[in-house]
């Protein structure tokens, strides 16, 4: 047994662990990828009817409600089927590409990262979101359970919440405090996108959106948050590796 000072041994082990964590982490990639996916959803969030209502529901002699379309994955008056299909393909593909990226990084850096539980969590949460989102029939039924998601599904942006929640799983796997903080920030942004018409604020800043694209600012708020977060984390990785040389 070599005589080593405990403090030196501990410091050497801590340095080795830190270097491994830095080499293993690649979470900037899914942030950029899902940022692009969210921004890319904009064409499926255009209303296709003049009124923006897919269906008008008479709830009283004088009151009509402009009915938000079926599955909560599109925009009122838009073709929700296309939006749902977009999210189904984009979300599953997004997680598959993320797993492939981590595999490529494993080959390149010689350190494996754990990413499969993140991808599985994302896909399972997305499936649950699809199942939990009430259909048009349920929305107007008297069953209180059918009304639970309420405003949360009105804007058809529930996939943002799925992306946000899955990020917490990634942060846990990566044991990264900055990513945990970012996931919390993004969850807030995703909730704002789901519960508030961001257009109200963008209009006051002078950016008016066409009447058929009122959900685009909501999508862009979340999409650009992910994209900029990913770019920021990516630049930090580059700066660290340059600093080590």
């Amino acid at each position: 047994m070599e005589a080593e000072e405990p403090a030196q041994l501990l410091a050497a082990a801590t340095r080795a662990a830190k270097r491994t964590r830095e080499a293993r982490r690649g979470f900037w990639f899914p942030l950029v990828l899902f940022g692009i996916i969210v921004i890319g959803a904009a064409p499926w969030y255009r209303a296709t009817t003049a009124t923006g209502c897919a269906q008008v529901v008479q709830v009283g002699p004088l009151v009509e409600i402009c009915h938000a379309h079926d599955p909560g994955f599109g925009v009122p008056g838009g073709d929700s089927g296309d939006a749902t299909l977009y999210w189904l393909i984009a979300v599953v593909l997004g997680y598959a590409v993320t797993v492939a990226f981590y595999q490529w990084r494993r080959f390149r850096t010689g350190v494996a990262g754990r990413v499969l539980p993140y991808a599985l969590a994302g896909v399972v949460l997305f499936a649950l979101a699809v199942l939990a989102t009430p259909t048009a029939t349920q929305r107007w039924s008297l069953d209180p359970l059918a009304h639970l998601p309420g405003d949360l599904v009105l804007r058809g942006l529930t996939p943002l919440l799925v992306i946000a929640l899955a990020l917490f799983v990634l942060a846990r796997l990566e044991r990264s405090l900055p990513l945990t903080a970012f996931a919390a920030l993004f969850l807030v942004v995703a909730l704002v996108s789901n519960l508030y018409d961001v257009e109200n604020q963008t209009a006051s800043l002078g950016w008016t959106t066409p009447q058929d694209s009122t959900m685009v600012p909501n999508l862009w708020l979340s999409g650009f948050t992910l994209l900029l977060g990913g770019i920021g984390f990516g630049l930090a990785v580059v700066a660290r590796s340059r600093g080590r040389r």
């Binding site: 041994l9 501990l10 293993r24 494996a112």
Partner: protein
């Protein structure tokens, strides 16, 4: 109460081997060349340390090809993880003891009364 040095593991209580386990504790699997670079060891030196750890069943080694490239992947075992965590606990305990102010030696009190 036992002294923390009693719990130190001779196989693990060595800079290179503790470093190897520290790396493997952070990742499901690491490649030989990453370990060599991260720990600043020669290939021969690293091989010897890995052999010691493998014989103690603290790591497993998989040799194979990825494409045309020969690669050696090293993985920590459950007992390796336990041994590493125990060693770190003992080292921290030792450091804490060393940093504690020493009690005054016996017989130095004021006994003029």
């Amino acid at each position: 109460m036992t002294h923390p040095t009693n719990g130190l593991n001779d196989t693990v209580h060595q800079r290179a081997r503790l470093g190897i386990l520290a790396v493997l504790h952070e990742t499901p699997t690491a490649e030989f060349s990453f370990l060599r670079d991260a720990l600043d060891l020669t290939a021969g030196n690293l091989s010897r340390h890995l052999q010691v750890l493998e014989e103690a069943a603290l790591v497993t080694i998989d040799k194979g090809y990825e494409g045309r490239r020969a690669r050696t992947w090293v993985r920590i075992t459950k007992s390796g993880r336990t041994a590493f965590e125990k060693e770190i606990r003992k080292l921290k305990e030792l450091i804490r003891r060393v940093e504690q102010p020493a009690p005054p030696p016996e017989g130095t009190g004021d006994d003029t009364g």
